[in-house]
Assembly symmetry: C2
């Protein structure tokens, strides 16, 4: 796959990962389902509302008893024969020619077909005088008027927000089936990595396991293990893959794939049917991938910025889709300053959005500028064949 | 506060809540900090990169040793005197007139000032022939070229994404101080609510505690308790507030504030210095608020849609700000169909975004349509003085 395009390699990664995405479900309580994705459409087991109830505080009446009022404008006085609160119980049927005091949400008694809001009445202890006529059905919420039992309350593949959980709760649903999260194991390779201790001369702090774990989590996946082989040896890398393949749908590795000596990941894939090559992309040129014990493995280069951008370009879109999350926002913005880019390479420069649709580049193109990436809020996506862009001209950006 | 405007009441709620927002911090590990907000600017304790290192696999040289190549184009052959990998240790200084093999990320030996990529060389076991000259500094990443020790790695008030955590990890930072989350207690009132059991006639399933808990969580807050008083009595409501005030920065209640009888929240606030009134808003007209034992309490009406929209309009913007989350996206869209709205009331209709910037209304305006809200993805914000909008005309929308 020497010097494949970004789009070609993205398609290759997608073809590797897609068949491995989980199709099984988790059963979770509604209270624990925020952000999860419905495995199937959820039908309402009940009518919503559950019963015919009042939309207002007022008086439940037979609308035809207000005929005089409607015709002549003369107020109608009815005896108050009871009261219905929003509480358990079934009220007695309403006798025509009478009224019952009723609260919002309370059961509308059988026989009553309208509610007169309290604002349009004056009442004594025993009678109510109604000054505005209401038609049959007014201020009455019919059973099932929101949704009928058996109708779809929520569709399949929906990422659950608070309003969806509220609808489930309102229908009396306690537990639902959601898609199982994609399980990921992250493996950072490199003899130069210091983990959990002070870096000695020649060592650096591992940021890739932190970055990939957090980025995968933000994409709705679940990172089950982050592994750092103790020794930079092919046998240890294989051991890490064994752990990964038992605990993940997808393994992400960083480091060990460039052209130098001591490139354990590259050596492993060369010997085990993986692909190792170079993508026409900067940062992130060296890329490798393969399948180990049936689990797809995507191997990113070790430079922190390369790893993070490789994840964002090749893996994040697939995970976001699986989690029902929207794709990263793309937008054409206006360059603040001239910009140069290497020919034949798709550059992903780090940048910052400015007012009025402007964008500026942050730091240089080098793939070690991890603080520069942290100070950015978008990527500038410069096509392979572009070597120069002018200030004031358009540039495609991807929000981080 | 009879018939205050939405904006006036929003300002009142903000004035109540803002002084109660937490100013203390949590100390968390970097691995647990995704989505948290930095309490203060974080300075880098180290230079990044930590040491001068190679950007390429190749040969470290003294650039001036390539002067002949630069002048005449004739390749230069140098003896290879060693090798530096990306691993712990400090290499010997480079003797001028020699080269060392070097890997990406490895320490550049003292004395060397350029790296020649392996692609521009041919090597035997003991010598390397260089075919392209490099200037001093080329392919060398200087110590501190990304960030100097003592410089701000991250600003205060930043919501932490994976790239920020990566930069912290790269600087060897294990723990950071983040803003404590806003702690919230949710109280649902209403004798008609069935919780954790099948609804009897006249009862409904409580959806407000589910909705408010999930919505507050999605806004970056932490819900410590969701309480449902067993009896619909003022004394029980006060008891719930006592629990809330010991466990929360903010208490949200639903139900019990309309004009009927049995309105315990309204009764409580009337007797205890709260405000009870009506906002020129639909749904969500009745609103109440107060302070109990120093903790602000915002009391929403009990209708599920009223509760959810009241939270979204009055409380969510404050919580999102505190959590470093962006405000809900507002956008002018184009109405699919004519629309009527009550005069003197700001209507928040539920709607759905359609292609090409169009929007359609979902369900009716009534505040019991909890399934209708779940089927919506935005609100239409219809100003008080508008009674009619025409198909094809603009309407302000708020994404849910």
């Amino acid at each position: 796959m020497s010097h494949r395009s970004v789009d070609e390699y993205a398609a290759h990664v997608r073809a590797l990962i897609t068949p491995a995405l989980p199709t099984d479900v988790d059963t979770v309580t509604v209270g624990a389902a925020l952000g999860r994705v419905t495995a199937a459409a959820i039908l309402s087991p009940v009518d919503l509302p559950l019963f015919r109830n009042s939309q207002m505080d007022g008086f439940a009446v037979v609308a035809s008893d207000l005929a005089t009022l409607l015709r002549t404008g003369a107020p109608v006085t009815l005896p108050i024969v009871g009261e219905v609160a929003a509480e358990p119980g079934t009220p007695l049927p309403l006798v025509p020619g009478t009224a019952v005091r009723i609260m919002t949400g309370a059961v509308v008694p059988e026989g009553a077909d309208a509610v007169v809001p309290v604002e349009d009445t004056t009442a004594t202890a025993n009678t109510v005088t109604i000054t505005r006529a209401r038609a049959s059905g007014e201020f009455v919420r019919n059973r099932g008027s929101d949704l009928k039992a058996g109708d779809a309350l929520l569709p399949a593949g929906l990422r659950l927000a608070s309003r969806h959980l509220a609808a489930l709760a309102a229908a009396g649903i306690d537990e639902i089936e959601v898609r199982r999260r994609v399980r990921i194991v992250v493996i950072s390779t490199g003899a130069e990595l210091a983990l959990g201790r002070r870096a000695e001369p020649g060592e650096i702090y591992d940021s890739n396991s932190t970055a990939l774990t957090a980025a995968a989590t933000a994409c709705g996946a679940e990172v089950t293990y982050a592994i750092h082989p103790v020794e930079d040896a092919v046998s240890q890398f294989r051991g890490s893959l064994l752990v990964g393949a038992s605990n993940a749908d997808l393994i992400l590795t960083s480091g060990g794939i460039s052209l130098g000596a001591y490139e354990v990941v590259r050596e492993f894939w060369r010997a085990n049917g993986g692909e190792v090559g170079h993508i026409a992309m900067q940062p992130g040129g060296p890329q490798a991938s393969g399948v180990f014990n049936g689990v797809p493995v995507i191997s990113f280069p070790g430079n922190p910025v390369s790893t993070q951008l490789s994840f964002e370009i090749f893996v994040a879109p697939i995970l976001r889709e699986a989690a029902g999350l929207p794709a990263a926002h793309r937008q054409t913005r206006t360059l603040m300053a001239d910009l140069r880019s290497a020919a034949g390479t798709r550059q992903f420069l780090r940048g910052r959005a400015l007012p009025e649709g402007l964008v500026e580049v942050v730091g240089g193109p080098s793939s070690h500028l991890v603080a520069g990436l942290a100070a950015s809020d978008l990527l500038l996506d410069i096509p392979e064949d572009i070597t120069e862009l002018k200030a004031g001209g358009p540039v495609e950006t991807i929000d981080l």
